[in-house]
Structure formats: structure tokens, C-alpha cells
Symmetry: C2
Subunit: 497 residues, 2 copies
Amino acid sequence: MEIYNNIRLSKEDSEHLYIQLYKSIKELILGGKLMEGDRLPPVRKMAKMMEVNNVTIVKAYEILEKEALVYKRIGSGTYIAHQIKGDDPEGIEEETHQAINKHRLLDQGQIKIEENTINFASATPSAELFPVDDFKQVLNDVLDRDKGNAFGYQEGQGYYPLREILGSYVKEYGINVDAENIQVISGAQQGIDLVSKALLNYGDYVIIEGPSYTGAIAAFQSRGARIIDIPLEYDGLNLEILEKKIQSNRPKLLYIMPNFQNPTGVSYTREKKEKLLEICKNYGVYIMEDDYLSELNYYHDDTSTLKSIDKENIVIYVKSFSKIFMPGLRLGFLVIPNNLHGRLLMAKHTTDISTSGLLQRALELYLKKGIWQQHLRYMEGKYKERFEKMISCIEAYMPSEVEYILPRGGVNFWFKLPSNCSSQQLYELAVNENIVFAPGNLFHLNNFHDEYFRLSIAAVSPPEIEVGMRQLCKIMEEYINKYKSSVVRASTIKPIL
Amino acid sequence: MEIYNNIRLSKEDSEHLYIQLYKSIKELILGGKLMEGDRLPPVRKMAKMMEVNNVTIVKAYEILEKEALVYKRIGSGTYIAHQIKGDDPEGIEEETHQAINKHRLLDQGQIKIEENTINFASATPSAELFPVDDFKQVLNDVLDRDKGNAFGYQEGQGYYPLREILGSYVKEYGINVDAENIQVISGAQQGIDLVSKALLNYGDYVIIEGPSYTGAIAAFQSRGARIIDIPLEYDGLNLEILEKKIQSNRPKLLYIMPNFQNPTGVSYTREKKEKLLEICKNYGVYIMEDDYLSELNYYHDDTSTLKSIDKENIVIYVKSFSKIFMPGLRLGFLVIPNNLHGRLLMAKHTTDISTSGLLQRALELYLKKGIWQQHLRYMEGKYKERFEKMISCIEAYMPSEVEYILPRGGVNFWFKLPSNCSSQQLYELAVNENIVFAPGNLFHLNNFHDEYFRLSIAAVSPPEIEVGMRQLCKIMEEYINKYKSSVVRASTIKPIL
């Protein structure tokens, strides 16, 4: 029974005790600590151990059973089911992976969809927006200039001239660092993976926003970390809950997107940004700031990055060039506190030694030529057009039962269906009409948030937005009306946002 | 004291009990389970717990102290020292990382060395051998052909036409798979990282060759795995010890380089390859075969890959294009058993989503044009010239006290100094004379193998080999003679190879 000693259930937690217990046991199963055929303690015994009611245990076991993580043998007890056995990668675990991969593909605009499908799922710009000719030119310039040296191993931290120019680049965002504080990465996802490797050991706690970016959740889970999500409010994280969770769980890391968050579009107020820094400073928690899309700031709000107001050097800033440049290049960078250099460099070496020197050199030249600023303005213009079109469509067509907060930048819009509806079901209906979007489960730690969904404007033209939204909202309306009369599902989870 | 429960010392182990204990405690410290200021149990208590002699404990504590992992307070006990505190990345941990990074840089030819230094350390070809013009041509062809599509997200598993052509490519090596079994990776290091993520959980066992590739050791350690090294003999792993270790530790994975191993140059006999497969099949252990350099087979030996004779589908084959193509491209591939697809794809997504589409497309075209075969023959010719020069220099200049087995392919040569000598000291002497090489510690799990070192011919021309070897052997001779008279160091470790 020793294995259960580390489970700590807290009544002060915003999460129900049975959810806490369910999550803890699931973790033990997925982490291989509980194996196929192991028996869970009988309800009464477990209740005594955890100092909770029998009902709490029953409910937790029920969810585990529903997710096929355990099964019951009548008169004998509850046992760990087959699919989670680490040594047999076939079966349901494989299917789970495939399902997650499918979602990720959707997000990256990679899913194979019908020719005439309208794609509100992809948060990745369409190929016609990429500055192909300019980039071809710099590639050739680099090859003529550097020859074989462009193909040798690059310094693990990144090609020095690129780091230098990135240092100046972030100065425009109020971040005062030099080349030594820059770590070049192969895209933001790698940044998250590296920070996980550098900071997180098995069993460490990480706090994320609920909802958050799937890729980050997956990276933390892969590291064996315990993840806690804190409700995201219209102006940023709920700081009261945050502080309590920090006190009770002593996390190593907080992962957030303070401007135009993915998937919700929420931006933190300046006040919340400052308070957040204060709290994390007090408890010695590093913050990973994923600067997802603060460039797409259509109304010139204060989108100061956390890093720019980080006096204590506790913020690790992650920036990708995928969203407004070219995803396929796989380039990005971290701005790192001085004392994390060695750890991150080590993690980079362990992960892939270094990022392609050729592409780093080409990006450096591209930035040096000042073409970047031009391209940025071009993308901003394109996206703003789509953004405004989307807002007018939402106002015109969105059923009144659907809740949302309009974002003020970025490419994502977040919606909440009435609580008896399922975005997964809506997705199936929409696909039949050649419209895709991202169901909300994708962005949550668990499957209790089926009423949310995300629409993204990254890969749709204004006319597509018009046609697609009119159609999608019609489907939604019919779907909602159909379920209006049906029994209201008992929603046990506090709504987030 | 619960924390020590998982330590299992075995008298049947080839390793001394105190080494086993030292390693286990070190693991607890580096894994953050023992923290700064924690006191180790008193010697007698620990001896009782572990059921061993007091002397065993004293010796283990001594090594830990020597490595500054613990310190003694007179009359009070032994405490965990500062540098390993997970929350404070400054200090010695940082220095350790830097030292490891320095070694890695050396290996990749990245170390900043004097202009006229002769570099026997780098296992990476020099820039003048790269097919720059040909690659520039295919890059431009791809950009003209694919435009923006070359810059979109690529399928996580890899650009399909590239996977197809890699499928045909490996057929020449006797590996019969199709595109579905290929996973494109950003270099071999990433392949090792992905396989670690897909197969290893915290605390799982991995078996490696002793000595082995540092980058693999680092990746397994970063994953929280327990690593066991098995002595490598002139014809491959000692299979008897291997089987015992598999029985006692039930590892998830065996990581080996069966042809022209790095750093030793050792190749497995066909018989050992087959027996190895048999053993791993029987115990359900996956094998990761790092095909480091089987192309550089100067005497046309049987260099069948394990994968080509793997009927049970338990071999994961890793191939990099860095060693004989261009390291800076960061391209390679895995050949994977069917049932691991989902896991590896998931790991790839979590790690960096996908490898640069532009580079994948360029490589595909390069392979399709048949330029690869030409380049390979060119590199083979270049390397063979160096290889033969090296052998004649070894025969002419190497002091008789130095032991070695000549390899029959690849780029690495492995040597053993007399046991009272230190390759680290020799390195310092050589650097003063502008010669660098790779000290043996780099390739071992611990620091007890200081008498070994590796010379590589990847980055030195035949005239440099002549001059460098004459000089280095002179330095060696003087160094050995100086220490001949000194006290013979008590060698507690069984010599490997």
C-alpha cells in the first residue's frame, strides 16, 4: 500500500476530492507504478487510508473504469486493466496516442481534409503567406558566403551572430539581454521540452493555465511531472488559487501565455502580470512565458511580455517563428536567466545537439536585412482583416446560447456551448458539412470540458470565414435546439472561463 | 530511510558492492531524492540496512566525497553537498554541465582550438568534405518546385517521399521495410532521445556497452533511467554477463553499435549478433542499434546490421546523416517495429513536432538524384586514405606499453595506457603541443577508466596524421617513462577491452 502514500487529497483544492484521487491513481497507472492485474485497495480500506468518504472512492474508481484504466471483477475487486502495461505498446495505449496525434495534426493544419473544407482548426498560417522568395535569396546568399561551414555542427547554444541579432530583436519588446541569454531552439515545442528537461524531475509539479496548449501538457507528462491547472479568468490566472496551489504543491515551474493565450485569446492585465511575478518570486517558482502571438496586437493594447518586467530573472521566455513566419523551418529561441544556461545547453545537447546551422544562418541574414519587419506588417494586415471578419460573423451568426469573450489579438476564438452539449458531437456534424475546428478537450488535462471549442483564423481567408461561420453557426443552432429539451447533464466541474 | 529501500546490491554483479552503492546514492542525489543538507545514514546503520560490511559503506562514501557530492562534518556525519540542490542551478552542477558540454564540443569538432592544432578529438568530418554545391542545387530545385509548401509543417513521421526513398535506401543494407516503418529525425541524438521517451520511464533499466557514446548516456540519464554497462570485448558484448544482467534487472532497452563502435572501433561477429538477438527476444528487450558508421567498411567485412537479421521485430535502427554527409543539417531516421509507431510519433510531437520540411525535401531530392552514392564513395576513399595512414603511424610510433586493437572500419581508434597513467594528464600535455584527442572518461558511466583514450581520423588529413602521431607518441612515451617508476595505482575496476 506504500504506493498510495504519496497521494495527498486536499479539501481546500478547487477540485473535488474524487477528481483529485482519480487523477492520482491514473498517474500511478500511466507511470507504470500500478501494473496490469494489480488490485486497487477495497473501497473502505482506501477511504480509511485517504481519510475520505467511501463515496469519494467509489466515484474515483468509476471514472477510472469509464476510461478503461481499471476493470471490476464481481465479488473480487477492482483491477488495473491491460492497456497500460508498459511492455505491450499495442492496443489501447497506441490508440490513445493516435487520437492525440490526430488532434495535434488538426492544430497544425496537417490533417488530411477534403479539398473544399473550411479549416477553423489550424492555428498555422497557410502556405501562400510565407515569404518564400525572400527566404530563397538569403539561403543562397548564405551558401555562397559560408560554403561548407554552413553545414558543420553549430554551437549548441546557437549560431552566435543569430543570437546577437535576436538579442537586439527582443529589445524592441522591452527585453534587455544579450547573446549570452539566448538559446536557439528548433521551434517552441522544443523550447518547452528543453525547459522540462532542465527543470523537471519525475514527480515534480508544474502549474499550467486551464485550458492550455496540448503540446506543453504532453511534454510535461512525458517528463513524469504532475500537472495542476488553474482556472484562467478573463484577465489572466486566478491568482488566489495560484498562490494556494504553489503553497501546497511547491511547483518547479509555471507555464503561461500572458498575451492572446492559446486557445482562449485571453490577455493578462498589467496588474496581474506584476502580481504573478511577485508571487512566483516569493516562492521561488520559475515561469515559462510562451509568447505565442503578442505581435498580432490589433488595437495596440499593453502587451508587455512578462520577461520585460521580470526584475528577478525568473522568467524563461519562449518564442517561435512558426506562427507568423514559417512553421516548417522549426526555428525559435529562448531568453534564459543566467543561472540556467548550463542546464539548458546540456538539455539541448541531449535532445538534438544543435539546430540546423544552415537555417540559423539564413534566419540571421533575413533578420539583418530588415525583411522581417516588412513581413510582420504584412502578416499583421492579413490577420487583422481575418480577425475583423471573424468578429462581425460571430456577432451576426453565433447562437445566443453560446458563451464567449472576444479576444483583442492573435488568431484564436474560444467558445462555450450550453452545458448539455458536446463539442465533439458538434465536430462530427460540422465535418459532414466540410468544416473543421478544434474541440475543447484537446486543451484540457482531462475530459470534463467537452462544451468548449476553439475557432482559429490562421488558415482561412475572409470569404471562407463568411461562408464557414454562417454554415457552422447554423449547424450549432440546430444541434443546441435538439438538445435543449434533453436532460441537463450534471456538470460536476466548475466552469473555467 | 525509506529512500534507500530501492537500492539493491548484488554480490553476483561484476561490479564491486561499494561501486554499486556509490552509484545508487549518486543517482538519488542527482535525481533530487537526496537534497542539500540531508544526512546519509551512519556507516554502521547503512551497513546493516544493506547487509554488507562497514568497509563497503566507507568506501562508497569516500568516492561520493571525492566527487564533492557529499561532505563530512567531523563528529556529526556525512551530508549531501550544495551543488546538487535542484532549485539552485548555480555552482558545481553548472560546472559539471559545462565540463560535459566541453567534451561534447570536442567530439563534434566544435571546440575552439588554436589555428594549427591537430584535431584527433573530432569524430566529425571537416567542412571541405561536404557536398555544398550539390546540396545548394537541390535546395533551389525544391524551392522552385514546392514554394510555400516547403515551409509548412511536415507530417510528424516525416515527409512521405523521403520516407519512401529511405525505405529503398535501407534495402541495400538488407533491411526490408517500407515508408510506414521509417521515422524521420533531426539527427541520431534526437533518435536516442525519442526512443528514450517512447520506451523508458523513470527508474527503468537500460543496458549499454562499456564504453559507449556519451550522448546516449546523457539522454538515458536525463530520462531518469538506470544505466548498466556491460564489458565490450574484441568481438562484441560479453553475452554471459549480458544475460545475467537482463535476468536480474529486466531492462527495457539495450543500446549498441554493432559495427565499428564508437569509441572502440569494435565490430560484433555475426555469431554474436545472432545470439544477442536470441537473448533479447527471449527476455522481451528492445534493442536500439545505432548504425554509427557501417558504410566505412574498408575491407568488405560482414557488417550486416542487426536490423537486417531481426526476424522478431525487436530492433530499432538509428541512422544519422551527420557523419558522412553534413552534421549541420541535423537529419537522420529510425527504422521502427510496427508496434512502436504511435509511441515514437507521440514522442516526436512532444519533442519538436517535426523535422524541417525544407531540409527533408532537399535530402529526398538529393537521394533521388543518386548523388548520395557518389558522395559516399568519395568519403570512403578519403577516409580509407586517412585510416591506412593512421595504422602505419600507430605501428611505427605507438609506445609498446600502450594496448590497442586495430579496428577494420570507421574513424575511431581506442587505446589503453599503462594502469598508472591518466589520459586526462596526457591530454593536458598534448594540448600544450597543439594536439587534441578524446580522453576515455568521456565514454564511461563513471570516472574509473582514466587510462583509455580515443583518436579519431575524421577531421585530420594524412599529413596531419603523420605529424600529429609522431609528436603525440613522443609525448606519450615521455609521460609513460616518467610514471614507470612511480607507485602502481590500485586498479579496482576490471579492465574493459
